[in-house]
């Protein structure tokens, strides 16, 4: 889950061959590509703020039980004493107090703060793992298509076209809905099944976006001098792929992974909103929003999960943008 944060460090380990490729830069600055990127990133205050928020979110998600223990109540615990039973809305409008930081849900009075905090776990877990899946498939397919060319390229590229043409949201709704009914056959149940399904659906159908970019990069990389040099020295396919080409793809992979995470956060929220996500009573941001729609007279119910999604997506996007500016040598600053 911490992969994006290690970004600057990992880039610093780029093998010497790759650095040789950027020899012009080295001659002037005397620094490695990773060092340059890190320097640029440090200057980008907005990206750093984004990174800070992302770190905070991850800490929140991991330590949710601790936070809730101190500041809230168990996320599924009812507090009907907080509800006005004639209108089913929280007493006093929102129920916000020192005891309930974000107020309570209408109808059953569950602690909104605890549910938003626990919601972060589901959202980030699904978004990050789905992104990982997309990246793994996308990179493998992209590299193969770009490196081997010919019929392999044709086959993979057309497959990507087919995947891109899928009405993803509609398809995901159908798939999650249908597969969710075959619990005994799949051998897992409840939240585990749902989370797994969502990760699979979101991750598996998003890989062509990253696959296309990787294919393009590979196409240009395999014609570069250092690859020719390696080949003329007798290096074979696997060596060239893993030692020459892949290390040079780490920058675009990192950038697009960071930018894919917020998309997936939104996608998971959309699926939960439409009712095919995680099942009750587990808290998810999208699921809370979908419930809140019916209670527009209790605006705080929509505000807090909505803000959580907004902040998460914004933070990841800002950080991703900054990372791209820092890693991509072609960006002019």
């Amino acid at each position: 889950m911490t992969a994006p944060l290690d970004a600057p460090g990992k880039t610093a380990e780029v093998p010497p061959e790759a650095v040789l490729a950027g020899a012009g830069v080295k001659a002037i600055q005397g620094r490695s590509l990773g060092q340059i990127a890190w320097m640029r990133l440090k200057r980008d205050k907005v990206a750093l703020a984004g990174a800070g928020v992302v770190v905070l979110l991850i800490i929140t998600a991991i330590s949710a039980p601790l936070i809730v223990d101190v500041f809230g109540h168990p996320p599924n615990e009812f507090h009907q004493e907080m509800i006005d039973t004639s209108t089913m809305t929280p007493k006093g409008g929102t129920g916000i107090s020192g005891d309930f930081l974000f107020g309570v849900e209408p109808v059953n009075g569950r602690d909104l703060f605890s549910r938003v905090v626990y919601g972060a776990r589901i959202s980030l877990l699904i978004a990050v793992l789905a992104t990982l899946l997309s990246v793994v498939i996308g990179t493998a397919m992209g590299v193969m298509a770009g490196y081997f060319g010919g019929w392999v390229d044709t086959l993979i590229s057309r497959t990507m076209d087919v995947f891109l043409a899928f009405p993803l949201l509609v398809f995901a709704m159908a798939l999650v809905g249908v597969l969710g009914q075959f619990e005994q056959n799949l051998g897992v149940t409840g939240d585990t099944l749902r989370i797994g399904l969502l990760i699979f659906v979101i991750g598996f159908f998003n890989w062509p976006y990253i696959g296309r970019i990787i294919r393009g990069q590979t196409l240009s990389l395999r014609e570069r001098e250092f690859v020719d040099a390696a080949r003329s020295l007798g290096a074979r396919g696997p060596y060239i792929l893993f030692r020459e080409i892949l290390p040079n793809l780490i920058a675009p992979i990192l950038i697009y992974a960071t930018l894919l995470i917020p998309t997936n956060v939104l996608f998971e929220a959309a699926l939960s909103f439409l009712g095919v996500g995680i099942q009750a009573p587990t808290a998810t941001w999208g699921g809370m929003l979908s419930q809140a729609v019916k209670f527009y007279n209790v605006p705080h119910f929509m505000f807090f999960p909505g803000m959580a999604i907004f902040i998460t997506v914004l933070a990841f996007n800002l950080f991703g943008d900054g990372l791209r500016d820092a890693l991509d040598p072609k960006t002019s600053r």
């Binding site: 599924n76 009812f78 509800i83 089913m88 059953n108 019916k294």
Partner: protein
């Protein structure tokens, strides 16, 4: 009674068979309890329209504006199973008898409409005769005869063409075997089921006696349909009116407008006032927008009659001025949770009782919307407006009694509790809230629930209503709800407690009750001709259901309705538990 009424948003047609026998065979005279005939008039206050007529008047004119957030099945009298539709249909169609336009329980009594009087039975309740009034005409001026009524009833039975609506006539009329439908076998002689000796007389012949046949005669299926104008399923686009209004514009899914039918003769109709000049009915209006427009006064009636949305609820109950415009009727509908008696360990009655003891009954009430929008905490399966109802006091109705639950668990041999699966309709937020509430309260007694949401559309056909799916998935609890077609034990209970209605192929509404004693009592009730004794038997069945803990009742449903501004003769009819649409007028 069957599918539609279980899924319809407020399908609760109702008529008191007690009341029926009181006026059974009586003359054609009724006293409509409206303003003009001296019924009590109500001042503006909460529940003012429940037991009295609010703002009575005889002033004619104006356009009555109605709207609904979705659409209902059909305006065709032979093809509809929504309470709102059965209520509205009476402005353009006249059935043999209908519910008296009067507030409260009086509205459950039947009045003759096309017929001169309520049905006269002979042959020990197997034959029912009605005489039509003289001078009845369709909107095109042709006279209405008993043959039009007969044709309408026969066509309403073709559930392959007209898929919506009850099947009472199919189940009870003594039809010849070779009769399939008026469309497929138009030439088969059906006199063994319905006879029309002359143009004014219609005689129904039943397979077995049924003392409550007037309830059948009140079904929209008896609204006459001229055979030469019938276009099967397309008849809904051009319904021929027999009541005081006829369709002017019909835009399916968008709007209907109705204008006066000049061939309707008030002299033939003692119950209708026909006050507005026209009706405007808009379909597909956003539900929240609709509430706001009713509150603001630029719309008169939310046709659905199922109460305001949660957002408007807060406004209405929070503001004394708005609350004074609201009514809070109780419907003949129970929301409950079926406890599967064939899924271990719930095959043991003590384990089932433990669930009822542990359940937070207030939490369940809140899940359905609280005391006003949800309903009163139910102590039995049968709602209070059903004949034979008695108050049961077998379980506490507080926030859950963990100790009693533990005792019951010990008696059941599971002192540490057990795990089971709870099914609910995933796209119904209230049922989701029920499942979440039970998971919390049962958890305190050691009963762990695994919640599973299933799609509403196939809930009964493929999931909770399919016995082998329930067993295979170990579903111990399932949310459920039922509304009466009319207010007697037969009209409410027969489909949900009789084990012989359970089909292995699925589509069951009785999810959990397989009890030989109950089956025997049902048979006893069907044969019993004395109404008081019959009602008492249904009361005993209700008690047996609760003693054996086959269901965990949540609420007897209530709704918050807002009286229209500027409208007259506003009251809640006990027949449908929504505003009576028959005699509304404008100031």
């Amino acid at each position: 009674m069957n599918k539609r009424s279980a899924v319809a948003f407020a399908a609760a047609g109702a008529a008191l068979s007690l009341g029926l026998s009181a006026c059974g065979g009586g003359g054609g005279e009724t006293t409509p309890a409206d303003g003009s005939s001296g019924a009590p008039a109500a001042a503006e206050a909460f529940n003012a329209g429940l037991e009295a007529v609010f703002n009575p008047s005889d002033k004619k004119g104006g356009v009555l504006k109605m709207a609904i957030s979705e659409d209902w099945d059909s305006v065709d009298p032979g093809d509809t199973y929504y309470a709102l539709s059965w209520n509205l249909i009476r402005i353009y169609g006249r059935s043999l008898v209908t519910y008296t336009p009067a507030p409260g329980a009086e509205g459950r009594k039947l009045s003759p409409d096309l017929a001169e009087s309520l049905g006269e039975s002979s042959d020990d309740g197997k034959t029912w005769t009605y005489k039509l009034r003289a001078g009845l005409k369709f909107e095109d001026g042709t006279p209405i005869t008993s043959k039009d009524v007969k044709y309408a009833v026969l066509r309403s039975m073709d559930k392959e063409t007209l898929v919506n609506g009850p099947t009472y006539f199919n189940d009870w009329l003594d039809l010849p075997k070779d009769f399939k439908s008026v469309y497929k076998t138009p030439d088969v002689n059906t006199d063994s089921a319905i006879e029309t000796p002359d143009d004014q007389t219609i005689v129904f012949h039943l397979k077995k006696a049924y003392a409550g046949f007037d309830n059948f005669a009140a079904l929209p299926g008896t609204i006459p349909v001229p055979k030469d104008k019938d276009t099967g399923v397309k008849y809904r686009e051009k319904v021929i009116a027999s009541g005081p209004y006829k369709f002017d514009k019909v835009e399916p899914g968008k709007q209907y407008t109705l204008v006066r039918n000049e061939h309707w003769d008030p002299a033939t109709d003692p119950i209708r006032k026909a006050l507005p000049d026209s009706y405007e009915i808009s379909l597909g209006v956003n539900a929240d927008d609709l509430d706001n427009r009713v509150l603001a006064g630029d719309l008169h009636i939310d046709l659905a009659g199922s109460g305001v949305q949660p957002a408007a609820l807060g406004r209405v109950l929070g503001d004394p001025a708005l609350k004074a415009r609201a009514d809070n009727p109780t419907g003949a509908r129970t929301w409950y949770t079926s406890i599967m008696s064939n899924v271990p360990p719930l095959d043991n009655v003590d384990c089932r009782r433990a669930i009822i003891f542990a359940a937070d009954r207030v939490g369940l009430q809140n899940a359905y919307g609280g005391e006003f929008a949800g309903g009163d905490i139910a102590t039995g399966l049968m709602p209070p407006s059903i004949g034979g109802w008695k108050k049961l006091d077998l379980y506490p109705t507080g926030t859950g009694d963990v100790e009693k639950a533990k005792e019951a668990l010990t008696a059941c041999g599971k002192p540490e509790g057990f795990e089971t699966v709870m099914a609910y309709r995933a796209d119904r937020p209230k049922e989701k809230a029920i499942a979440e509430s039970l998971q919390q309260s049962l958890g305190k007694a050691g009963i762990k629930l695994d919640l599973k949401g299933y799609p509403t559309g196939d809930y009964f056909a493929l999931y909770a209503g399919k016995p082998d799916f329930v067993k295979k998935n170990g579903i111990g609890l399932a949310t459920n709800g039922w509304g009466a077609d009319w207010n007697d034990g037969f009209g409410f209970m027969s489909q949900i407690v009789d084990s012989r209605t359970i089909r292995e192929s699925g589509g069951n509404y009785n999810l959990s009750i397989t009890d030989k004693e109950i089956d025997a009592k049902i048979d006893e009730a069907l044969l019993e001709t004395d109404v008081a004794k019959r009602d008492a038997i249904w009361g005993e069945i209700d008690q047996r259901v609760m003693e054996q803990a086959y269901v965990l009742p949540s609420v007897w449903s209530k709704s918050v309705l807002v009286r229209p501004q500027g409208a007259t003769n506003v009251f809640v009819t006990g027949a449908f538990d929504m505003y009576d649409y028959l005699n509304l007028g404008l100031e």
